[in-house]
């Protein structure tokens, strides 16, 4: 009846926009993440078949939610004795009695679909906080978030995390088992716990983006899927928590990085420095969106680490050319960033701005002081920045040693190629041009 390609596109769109919502709502009914996942998957499969007969419903996500919930209810009714004895997913806000009947009424009521985001605006938030619970290992938090919130198949997760599919499946199973056995609650944290827990969620999203941005090993610099998923998560969180300045800050930071992704490497896959990148290729709408978020956030006055990092990135991006970068402002923002987030990595990155404002000499002194910090032992950008400063000071022999050290610490092949090229330049300055 309807064009199969159109149906497939509608299902794919509902998957991207609605997976988290459908799963979160179904998880409340199923009270078991595995059962919820199964039912949601079946609902999406059923959509392909049913929609080609009946046409695409007015509210595809609501249709999927109702269908997945109904399936979960059917299973629960069949296995009622077992399930009521052992609720596998703890929902502290659910009334202890009459759960099944309440849920049933709700599911029936939803057969007259309403815009689902109006009904249960925070279902997805519960799911996100569950997946990023600090009692789970961070690797598991990342995998679980991608699996449950973004609907990424286990096979793709395995590829993204460079592990075998059985390993990834075991990781997900272990995490889900801990959620049910240790009774990690399916709820939004209390106001007192929220700042810490939110920081954990933001950390997971940021780490996913970073993993996509610079894959820790392997030949491809951009694992675009992870970056897209991280951006999708950040947007979702922004929509769900519009008043948290750090949520806007993280989204702005990711947007600014993503806006430049096309220019990070040249046609031959060589890494390009910011000064070499073609600024006309940057995604201006993403940059504008980020700028708005930063302005709103800075006006709020509670600037945290992500907002300040985004503000720094936006100063870089706002300059018409690299040479016109407002280094004084960047340095001032780094000083503010160090106050809210005294990380040695931030201190290293600050030296780049310091070199532009005060010259490579003072920046090198700062780098040498930071070298004493044992937390930076394996941080490959420290010797890379040091080498660059030494080169500018004309100390080619020392620069060569620093580039070699940076190469030892770097696994990404594109970054290695970049460093090898710099090393060749300092070792053989006459032959490089």
């Amino acid at each position: 009846m309807t064009d199969p390609a159109e149906i497939a596109a509608a299902v794919a769109d509902a998957h991207r926009r609605g997976w988290a919502l459908v799963l979160a709502a179904t998880a409340r009914v199923a009270r078991d993440l595995d059962l919820a996942e199964e039912c949601v998957q079946e609902a999406y499969a059923a959509a392909l078949e049913t929609w080609s007969r009946t046409g695409i419903p007015r509210e595809p996500v609501a249709w999927l939610t109702t269908t997945a919930k109904r399936r979960a209810l059917d299973v629960l009714r069949r296995e009622q004795v077992f399930r009521t004895k052992l609720p596998l997913l703890l929902d502290p806000d659910e009334a202890a009695t009459d759960e099944l009947s309440t849920v049933e009424d709700e599911a029936v009521a939803e057969s007259e679909p309403v815009e689902p985001t109006d009904v249960v605006p925070d279902e997805r938030l519960r799911l996100i906080f569950l997946c990023c619970h600090p009692a789970l290992a961070q690797e598991a938090q990342m995998a679980l978030t991608l699996r449950l919130v973004c609907g990424v198949p286990t096979s793709e997760l395995a590829r993204a995390f460079l592990v075998s599919e059985p390993t990834m499946a075991a990781r997900l199973t272990r995490a889900k088992k801990k959620i049910s056995v240790a009774r990690i609650p399916y709820r939004i944290p209390s106001a007192a716990a929220l700042p810490d827990r939110l920081a954990g969620v933001l950390g997971v999203i940021h780490l996913l983006f970073t993993m996509g941005h610079t894959a820790p090993a392997g030949a491809s610099l951009v694992r675009a899927d992870l970056m897209d998923q991280a951006l999708h998560l950040a947007r979702m969180l922004r929509e769900l928590m519009p008043d948290e300045p750090e949520v806007g800050g993280l989204l702005a930071l990711l947007l600014l990085s993503h806006a430049r992704r096309a220019t990070r490497v040249n046609d031959r896959g060589r890494l390009l420095r910011l000064s070499e990148q073609d600024r006309s290729q940057w995604d201006q709408s993403m940059i504008a969106e980020a700028r708005d978020l930063i302005n709103v956030g800075l006006r709020d006055g509670r600037a945290g680490r992500y907002l300040l990092q985004a503000a720094i990135a936006s100063v870089y991006v706002d300059a018409p050319t690299y040479d016109q970068t407002d280094w004084t402002q960047i340095l001032a923002l780094y000083d503010r960033l160090l106050r809210v987030w005294p990380s040695p990595v931030v201190a290293v990155n600050r030296t780049v701005a310091l070199a532009e404002v005060q010259g490579p000499g003072p920046a090198l002194a700062e780098i040498e002081a930071l070298e004493q910090d044992h937390r930076l032992m394996g941080y490959q950008y420290l010797p890379a920045i040091k080498a660059e400063l030494l080169t500018r000071l004309g100390r080619r022999h020392d620069a060569s040693a620093a580039y070699q050290r940076a190469l030892e610490l770097t696994t990404n092949e594109v970054e290695r190629a970049f460093l090898a090229e710099r090393l060749a330049e300092v070792d053989h300055p006459e032959s490089s041009r």
């Binding site: 502290p92 990690i184 944290p189």
Partner: protein, 119 residues
């Protein structure tokens, strides 16, 4: 409701005689604050130092704790709590976490406590 065992770890030999009066008082206060945090204390045990421990592995009996580690188990208590967040809040406030050691929280699968269990 679920039960959680909270195991206290301290620097070997985890001798309570090494605690200052303030530290001892902090532990006593902690035991009293559990209900206010949403948990209920079901049982609590403070252990003698690990120098008094004896371990058995297979047929071999050895002097000392089972695992050779810098930190050893100093005691444990079992609480009832509605979920892990409450149990972790209790655990986080255990003074052991601020005295150079820490705690491990494990859900209890099954339990039995005899009527006259107080040492």
């Amino acid at each position: 409701m679920a039960q959680y065992a909270i195991m206290l770890f301290a620097k070997a030999p985890a001798d309570s005689a090494d605690l200052t009066p303030e530290e001892r008082a902090a532990h006593a206060r902690h035991a009293e604050e559990v209900p206010a945090l949403g948990g209920q204390m079901l049982a609590a045990f403070a252990l003698q130092p690990s120098t008094t421990a004896t371990s058995v592995r297979g047929d071999v009996v050895t002097d000392g704790p089972f695992l050779d580690a810098k930190e050893v188990i100093a005691g444990l208590y079992v609480i009832e709590a509605p979920d892990l967040d409450i149990a972790l809040e209790v655990a986080r406030r255990n003074p052991a976490t601020q005295q150079g050691g820490g705690v491990e929280v494990r859900p209890v699968e099954a339990s039995f406590i005899a009527a006259a269990a107080t040492a």
